[in-house]
């Protein structure tokens, strides 16, 4: 994917990811975020949750996976805003839907940066919006090669 090829308003492919208990515990292990509601179901229940849930880094990583999956291996995330409206619990599915909201060329720095703005929203399997996000990726311009 190059910047020239990006079509504003084009939808991104829907991605569904099943979140098992293993994935949530793995989330704690990979991020070193040992707040107990990410690995201890009883603690999570004691704090009003049905069970353990993934942290912000996991949600952001899923958003980034969608974004750079769209932009290709030479793209990178340069900005991401996420809001946490609801949690993704062990046993849930994360469902990502998104679309291209804009593209622009940043000339403020020494080198031109080819940027694409995306909206990616993460829902659970009940279609409840848990994490709306906006992401900007830097992407290959007209010529081949990395965008850095």
């Amino acid at each position: 994917m190059t910047w020239d090829e990006v079509v504003v308003s084009a939808p991104l492919p829907e991605v569904v990811d099943q979140i098992s208990y293993e994935r949530v515990v793995m989330n704690t292990g990979t991020t070193w975020d040992y707040v107990p509601w990410h690995y201890n179901p009883q603690y999570a229940k004691d704090h009003g949750h049905p069970t353990i849930f993934v942290n912000t880094m996991h949600l952001a990583g899923f958003v980034d996976r969608i974004a750079t999956g769209f932009g290709g291996p030479y793209s990178r995330v340069v900005r991401r805003k996420v809001s946490l409206l609801g949690s993704i619990y062990a046993g849930d599915s994360m469902v990502a839907r998104g679309h291209v909201v804009g593209k622009r060329v940043d000339t403020a720095a020494d080198a031109r940066r080819y940027l694409v703005d995306l909206e990616v929203s993460i829902f659970n399997q009940r279609d409840e919006l848990c994490c709306p996000a906006t992401v900007t990726i830097e992407i290959t311009g007209e010529s081949a090669g990395p965008s850095r």
Partner: protein, 188 residues
Amino acid sequence: MGPRAAGERVAGVTADLSYEFAFGTYEDALRMVGTRTEPRFAGTAVSGARIQHFASMVRDPNPAYWDREFAMSAWGGLVAPPALLVGLLMPPPWVPDGEPPIASIAVRVPLPGTAIINASNDAEYLMPVLEGDMLSVVEEVVSVSPEKKTRLGAGHFIETLETYHRGDGAVVAMCTNTLFRFTPAGDR
């Protein structure tokens, strides 16, 4: 849990964890606005193992995380997933010298709330973080909201700015995070 004197600290999560909340009033919290921490350093360089463990957890096939040859030619080395950056500065939950890990400045803001949950995060990644980079972070308390009532309970939104540096001093990322520090509904 009753009110506590400003600055008094108790285990905020479990007795097994050394991350601690500071307790105090909203006025105590406001006095902390503008406070910046000294740099907090990661104990080790960014490793391919952590990069690929996180990418495996997210199931992200991006070759920048997996294909060393590609990553070297495209980016200069294996790339750390941007979303892992906060985790790369997390202290391990136990260290041999017995010193408790230093918690994020957000949970050291003195407030009455007994629970936390993240509300939003806005991160700007100025350059890729690569395997082998040594990282540090400086945190600043930007604002503390007046008490807000939510479905979770009543509490305060704490906005912090984290600035991440590479070992050579380059700023690699800036991250504004909003944490909700609250007393769960029913606990009051």
